[in-house]
Every structure is written in C-alpha cells, then in structure tokens.
C-alpha cells in the first residue's frame, strides 16, 4: 500500500472530505455506544436533538460555540505561521482578567464605549502575555510550545491567587469569584429568552476579518509565506521575527476576546471555572477547520453541538457525556486523515 500525490484536487473533494470524515468518526464512536448497551440511533438522535433540535438547544450550542470560535481562530492564525501557540487557555483568562479589571467599576461609560473598551483591554492582555514567548523564540530559539503551554498554568494559578485575594468580591460569601461586570459592560442578548449574546456576532465578525487579512493583505501574504517556507520568506525580505510577533499579537488578542465574551457575555463575573478548556479545544476547532478562518465558524459550532448534545444525551440515555471528548478526538483524527487523502490517493497492490 502506498500513497501517490494527486495531480489535481477538486474543490468539492476538499469541501466534502471533512463531512465524510465526521461520518466516519460517528461510525467509529458508535462502537463505544454499543458497548454501553444503548441503541446507537437512539443515542445519536438524542445528541442531535440536544444540539440542534430546538430553539433552546440551538441557542445553547451557539452560545457554547462563541468562545470556541475565538480560541479556534487564535490557534488557526498562529498555526498558519507555524507559531505553535498552545496557550490560548491562559490568554483567555488574561482577557477575562482585563475585562474584570476594567468592567467592575474602574470606569463607567455608555455601553457603546464600555463594551469596545472591554474587548480592546481583553485583546491587549491576551496579546501581551505572548510577548515573552515571542521574545524567547526570536532571541534564544526557545520552543514556543513549551513556553506558551507552561504559561497557562502560571496564569491560572495567578488568577486563582487574585480570586482568593485582591479580586475576591466581598459580597461573594467567601466564594472565589470576582465582582460582577457592571451593567454597561454586559454584552446584550441577541435573542430573547436565550443566553445567546453579542459575543457570537463578534466571533463571526472576527472570523471574517481574519479571513480577509490572511487572504487579501500583505500581512496575510507574509504570514502564509513564513508558515509555508520561512527560509524562502526571509530570502524574499520578509522579517520572520516581525511576522511572528504580529501573529502572536493577533492570536493572543483573539483568545483574549474569548475571555471577554465569557465574562461579560455569559457568566457576568470571573471565576476559576470560567473556561472548561476552551483554549485547548480551540486547537481541535482549528484542526477540524484545516486552519481556515471561515471553516472555524462551522467547526466551532460542530464541536459545541457535540458537547451540548452529549450533555443532553447523557441525561436521556445511560451514556456518560465524556463520550463527547471521544467524538471530538476521533473527529479530529478522521479529518486529518481525510485532509491527507485530498492530497494523496492510496494505491493498494
């Protein structure tokens, strides 16, 4: 058995490959469902209904997709330039911290200024924490996978300290949580009787803007060139360090956005369980989307659907909701294989 490169790759193949891959992933996961003794169709039926089957389910899924979209974009942008930012989780918390700092009474402005201020602050905070990894990478060739990953723990412990100490809301009855975002800073709901908030729209707009930058601007050109072939990019006069710095700021900023949407849009105040690993799940989102910014929208909704649907499924039938993690993992693997198969064909002899 061997792989041969395809001479031409049709557009439809590229578009349909991930869909096929997800089908394969569902078939593979059904083995585990059968093992629990439940009916596969019933289980998937509950999952689908719980994710998209009602107005409530759909808005819950989109609400969950919001931070995933932003952390997914953060990973997609960075990975395009081969800057392996694994620290979106920490950057998300930095964004949330900034929003908490600015939005709990430090300044009070009209919402049309207050909300942008929170996002700008969150993006700056998320971007600034990447300066250290970028500096270490540029000057000393320290691997950013290690530095960004380890920064997550440092940031989380720092947030933990703040929530136990200086930032703890005196009215919280001793719970480690910060004061609530003032009303002017809370993101408005965009659908009645749902939790879906402005953050979702910000996520979609961010995806479109990232796509535009990558596709149509000189920055995007440079980012793609550096990602595909750094030495040819250098030869053509593109500064790797400057490009990586830009990418890091954009990536960290997007992850910071995710922190803002969760604090100011969904929860209302900062706690240590603000994110159940959205930063890491963003990597899966980006991989599922083959690092395409617009694909991130779809893959974030898909992932959110699985998580939300699996919760609902686990209430209806006797399958733990951890099956969602298995499904996501298998989907990512299947999509990676399918992407390879769009470039190569398998010859068996």
């Amino acid at each position: 058995m061997r792989l041969e490169p395809r001479e031409s790759v049709s557009f439809w193949l590229v578009l349909l490959a991930p869909v096929g891959a997800i089908g394969v992933a569902l078939v593979l996961t059904s083995g585990l469902i059968m093992w629990t003794g439940e009916s596969v169709f019933e289980a998937y039926g509950h999952l689908l209904k719980g994710a998209f089957g009602s107005r409530f389910a759909l808005t819950e899924t989109l609400t969950r997709a919001t931070p995933l979209m932003l952390t997914g974009l953060a990973a997609a942008v960075a990975f395009r330039a081969r800057f392996w930012n694994i620290g979106a989780e920490g950057q998300l918390y930095c964004g949330a911290l900034a929003a908490t700092y600015l939005g709990t009474g430090l300044v009070t402005l009209h919402p049309t200024l207050m909300i942008p201020l929170l996002f700008v602050g969150g993006a700056l905070a998320g971007g600034v924490v990447l300066l250290l990894p970028v500096y270490l990478k540029s000057k000393l060739s320290v691997d950013e996978v290690v530095t960004t990953l380890l920064l997550n723990f440092i940031i989380l412990l720092f947030v933990n300290y703040l929530l136990e100490g200086p930032l703890r809301d005196p009215m919280s009855m001793g719970w480690p949580q910060a004061a609530a975002i003032i009303d002017e800073g809370v993101l408005p709901r965009i659908m009645e009787k749902s939790r879906l908030h402005l953050g979702f729209i910000i996520g979609v707009i961010s995806a479109v803007m990232v796509w535009f930058v990558m596709r149509f601007t000189i920055w995007g050109y440079e980012i793609r060139a550096v990602g595909h072939n750094p030495s040819a990019a250098t030869f053509a006069g593109i500064s790797i360090n400057l490009t990586v710095l830009r990418v890091a700021l954009i990536s960290g900023g997007l992850a910071g956005f995710a922190g803002v949407t969760e604090v100011a849009g969904l929860k209302g105040y900062l706690t240590l369980d603000l994110s159940p690993g959205f930063g890491y799940a963003g990597i899966a989102v980006a991989m599922l989307a083959n690092l395409h910014p617009l694909g991130v929208i779809a893959s974030a909704i898909f992932l959110a659907g699985i998580y939300v649907g699996a919760d609902s499924m686990s209430r209806a039938v006797n399958i733990p909701n951890y099956i969602a993690d298995v499904m996501v993992a298998v989907s990512v693997l299947a999509v990676l294989v399918s992407l390879m198969l769009t470039q190569y064909r398998v010859r068996v002899r």
């Binding site: 000189i218 793609r224 595909h228 030495s231 040819a232 250098t234 030869f235 500064s239």
Partner: protein, 513 residues
C-alpha cells in the same frame, strides 16, 4: 555475459509517459553510460529497477533471473548497488557505522565491528580505495563521502554499481581518481551504469552509451564511435547552440567586498576568512570551488541574509550598513539562490504569489494601505511569465508543481525585472536541462550586456569557462586572485580548488615574465 536485461519497460504517470518501451542490456565488466536530460526518464527507470515503482509493462532480468516487480529489496539482494547524487549517509556516525548500517540482523544485541572492519579493509585493498573507517562522516570531504557510498554498495556484495551524476560535487582531480577506481572495479568483473549529462566524462569512462530522451530510448552507440556533438544532439534532439560570450570592457565596480570575515561560531573555523573581491559593470566573475568551502556564506552575505563579522561590503561605492534582504533588493542586488526549492520559492503558494514576492511593497501592487491588488499582481506576473517564457498551466497553480527549469525562470524573472546592478547567480543551472540552461545563460549574458555585474557561483567548470570573464577560486573561506579565463585551464583551477590557491599567482607571474 549479460548481467542486467531490461526489456520493454513502460511506465506512465497519468498522461505523462515517463518510460516508453525502454530496453537495455548490461554486460559483465562493462561501463554503460545512461545519458539524458533531466526529466528524460533516467530516475524513473532506476526506481523501477529498485522496486519503488512497478512498471506498467515490461520486465527486468538480473543475472538471468526475473526480478519481482515492486519488491524493494530484490535488486539489492541480487547484487545491484546504487550511489545517489545526494549522499545517503548519516553525518553523526562513523564511516564504518554508515557502511554496516542496515546489514546486520536486528536480532543480535551488538554489532560485530571487528569483523566488519576486516572485511572493509579487504575490500578497500582489492579496489584500491583509501578510506578511514573510524572517522565521522561529518569530518570527511565530499570525495571521501562518495567513496564511502561506493564502499557501502560493495560491502553489500554489489556486482552491478549504478552511479547517479557522480561527478557533480567533485574537483577534476577527484573525478580522475573516481574514474581510476571505476576502471579497477570493471577489471575485476563488476559492471557499472554511469548516469550523467556531462558529455566529456561519458566519453572518458564508458564503453557504450544509451541515450534517453523524453522517456524513449533514442539511441545506443559505442563510445569509440561517438563524439561530443553527436551525443549532445542525440540527447537534446536538435543541435545545441551555446550562447555567445562577448568580451566587454569592465566598468566601475558595482560590488566591492573588503576583507570580510564571517565567523563560523565558537570553536569553528571562520566561514569566510578575510575575503576581498570586486565585481564590475559588464563583467561576469565565476566563483569555482568544491561545495562547502564558504560559497554559502558568501551567498548569504551578498543576499543580505548575513552580516560580516568584520570587514565591509560596498554597493556602487556606498558602504552597506543594513544587511537585510529587503535593503539589498532596494539597492539593486538581484539574487538567485543556491537552492530554489528551499530559498527561492514558497512551493505551496501560487506562481503569481511567488512572482511578486520581491516587489510586494511597491505601490502599484497594493491599494488602501496594505490590501493586495490582485488584478495588478496578476497583470505583473502575466507579463513576466510571457517575457521570460515560464511554462505553467495557470499562474494559480502551486509553484512546487513547476519543473526545475520553469521554477528557475520564475526566479530569474522576478530578479531581473528589477534591473539589478549586481546579480548573485548561485548555481543557477543546477539540475536544469539543456534548453533551460541555455535560457538562463542567455539571460545572464544579456544582463551583463545591459551593464550588470554578475557573480556566478558554480561547481561546473565548463559553465564557468563558458560564461565568465574572470574566475576566482574559493577554498576554506579564502579566495584566490581573479584570473582571466583566457590564462588558466581547468586543470589549474582544479589544483586551486584542492587547496593551492597560490597556484594561480605563479601562472600570472610566468605570464608576465
């Protein structure tokens, strides 16, 4: 006695017929030359022999036994050894370890080094090859590495040795020594297939020549009946006209390198050790030297990729302060990189995207701040593609799908359209076919006529003598005095390439006296 019999091999990839009904035979004790341009199907044929591809039709017999198609070990087990153009040695292992690698059973705990060493010594003795088994491969010269590759094949019991472009990296003297070794091997009953496109070497070493062109075997001729012109014509399919060099009065210096040292890092010898060199208007200076003697450092210096540790570079009289690719491009330096895949193009980006890479920051190619003007870029590329005859299906295709020659034309187009005052042409025709070589050379000569100074870095002395006005030789980071091509011979350059840089001076003095 026929040791290898290839019968009617056909192999196609999609619509491309890489091998079209190819037959050839190899007798015991014979050197058969396989001549053909890049893309003629030589590599495909060898890949079929070694089981990497399965032929659509035809079969191969080795020593009278039919070879199982697609079995990658079959040819090696039957006694065929291949020495690749790009060596397949592990730098961090010793010579002996490299040779033994892969021959020992997986089940034994330790390698039987002592016995291997004795066998190796016996083989070296038999074929008159000097090798030092305990040295690290990283520490030995290119010529020695090639001997290790040959030894590797012999150690595995090869009776047929296939050498793919073996002389590309050797000095003329090393080529002589390789040929002596090959003759010894043939005298001892081994058979050799010598793949090359260098005609004079084929004439010197082979007994018989098979010529491949566009996947077809177009001719077979006994070497004693062949000459350079007839072989060239068979290979290319038409008469080959080499571009005419006209001698011109050199003008003002465009690039002056003054006593430049480039450090090789702590504990290493400097890569450039006090190099001074001027290149003038209307002048092509050829830089000869065995690979790895500082050409890359010099290339990086003149591409703006590396600043000198000490010394200076002047471009058109002004001392360079900013060693960056961008400022070099802006001051009129055209660069053709040594490795077009690694440095010249971003293979995954489209043809037009690569075409604009050096002009990206110019106003007409973008609008509204930093948004790329796709129409202007495509127009820009379309002109260059047409003017420089870059053959591509569409300019939207990924650049990695271009052939080597067209990729090089793309780089030339991108470089020359800025009308540089100086062109660094680093191995500009490596791996190209005759047609593309002529095109590239013609462009360089035209640039010279238009007033550019050119530094032509090449390992091919024929190319240097054909194009350059002066030749300098680089050895261990030092550069010889420039020598006029009319005053030196390839043999002189070979002596200098091997380390005697002063040899040229003596020649000049003799000329003066």
């Amino acid at each position: 006695m026929t040791v290898l019999d290839i019968k009617g091999i056909t192999k196609s990839f999609g619509s491309l017929v890489a091998n079209d009904n190819i037959s050839l035979t190899l007798s015991e004790g014979e050197v058969l030359a396989l001549l053909g341009e890049n893309g003629a199907g030589k590599t495909t044929l060898m890949n079929i022999l070694f089981g990497h591809y399965v032929a659509d039709q035809g079969e191969i017999e080795l020593f009278g036994t039919r070879l199982m198609p697609g079995a990658t070990d079959a040819a090696i087990d039957a006694g065929v050894g291949m020495v690749h153009q790009h060596f397949t040695l592990a730098d961090n292992l010793s010579v002996l370890e490299n040779i033994v690698l892969g021959t020992e059973p997986l089940t034994s705990w330790k390698s039987n080094t002592a016995q291997a060493k004795i066998r190796l010594a016996a083989l070296a003795e038999e074929f008159g090859m000097h090798i030092e088994p305990d040295k690290l491969v990283a520490d030995i010269s290119v010529g020695e590495r090639q001997r290790v590759e040959i030894m590797k094949a012999l150690y595995r019991g090869a009776k047929i040795l296939i050498l793919d472009e073996p002389t590309a990296v050797l000095t003329p003297q090393e080529v002589d020594s390789l040929f002596a070794t090959l003759r010894t091997m043939v005298a001892r009953g081994l058979s050799i297939i010598f793949i090359s496109h260098k005609l004079h070497e084929i004439l010197a070493i082979s007994d018989r020549v098979n010529v491949l062109r566009r996947g077809c075997m177009v001719g077979e001729i006994a070497t004693k009946d062949a000459n350079r012109d007839s072989l060239a014509e068979m290979m290319v399919g038409r008469e080959v006209s080499r571009p005419k060099v006209e001698h011109m009065e050199a003008g003002a210096p465009v690039v002056e390198i003054d006593n430049v040292v480039v450090s090789g890092g702590r504990g290493h010898k400097p890569l450039l050790d006090g190099v001074s060199l001027s290149i003038h208007k209307h002048e092509i200076v050829g830089l000869a030297g065995v690979a790895g003697n500082g050409q890359s450092a010099l290339g990086d210096l003149l591409s703006g990729l590396r600043a000198p540790t000490s010394g200076s570079v002047r471009i058109a009289g002004d001392t360079v302060k900013d060693y960056s690719a961008r400022s070099f491009i802006a001051t009129g330096i055209g660069r053709i990189p040594e490795d077009r895949h690694a440095k010249g193009v971003v293979g995954d980006m489209t043809v037009w995207e690569n075409m604009i890479s050096e002009n990206l920051r110019e106003k007409p190619l973008w609008r509204f701040g930093r948004i790329i003007d796709f129409d202007a870029c495509r127009e820009f590329s379309r002109n260059l593609i047409e003017h420089f005859d870059v053959r591509c299906k569409t300019m939207e295709m990924p650049t990695k799908q271009l052939s080597g020659g067209n990729m090089q034309k793309l780089i030339l187009a991108r470089t020359l359209q800025n009308e540089p005052r100086f062109i660094l042409a680093n191995q500009p025709v490596r791996g190209l076919d005759e047609g593309a070589i002529a095109a590239v050379h013609e462009r360089l000569l035209a640039a010279k006529r238009a007033g550019a100074g050119v530094l032509l870095v090449s390992e091919d002395l024929d190319e240097l003598f054909a194009l350059a006005d002066k030749i300098v030789v680089i050895y261990h980071g030092n550069i010889s005095e420039p020598l006029s091509v009319d005053e030196v011979t390839a043999q002189d350059i070979g002596i200098m390439m091997a380390g005697d840089l002063g040899h040229g001076k003596n020649l000049n003095r003799a000329g003066v006296a």
